[in-house]
Subunit: 100 residues, 2 copies
Amino acid sequence: MSKFGMYVKFTTVEGKREELAAILMEAAASMDEVDGCEIYLVNYADTEPNAVWVTEVWRDAEAHRASLQAEGAAEMIGRARPLIAGVEQVKLATLGGKGA
Amino acid sequence: MSKFGMYVKFTTVEGKREELAAILMEAAASMDEVDGCEIYLVNYADTEPNAVWVTEVWRDAEAHRASLQAEGAAEMIGRARPLIAGVEQVKLATLGGKGA
């Protein structure tokens, strides 16, 4: 049974990458309290100076969906939104391996 | 201090996705013995029927490079190569978060 994964690429408003990454690291820190979140990693890409990538693995799509309704999520999304120029994502079925 | 991450997208020869995924799951199983490998996950993408994505996080680029020289790696790469039509990758500096 596969898990629900995502690579989410946030393109930031010029010069706002560090600020967005800090908010996403706050979100990552809160994930220990979130049911079904197995991996939530914040990354920069070597060749994309205004991008922040988030690597996510969840027990299933329902756990991911529920997390967006959780207390605190709306407040963080509200702070992040003005920093974000665009969002792209790759939705994955995570088969397994080392780490999740 | 960030870690070394990668998303690697393998596009397979038509109909060879499952066979490549099985070899990559073998590689994942061997990663417990590999110094510096923190995450090695095998994924399908929802909208790409001939793709297999691998999510990797390493202590640093050197640990990743050394793993490619390890015993067994060449043999697995040899079996995988005829199944692969193309490779793309996103190189990442993994700042942190939940799971690595």
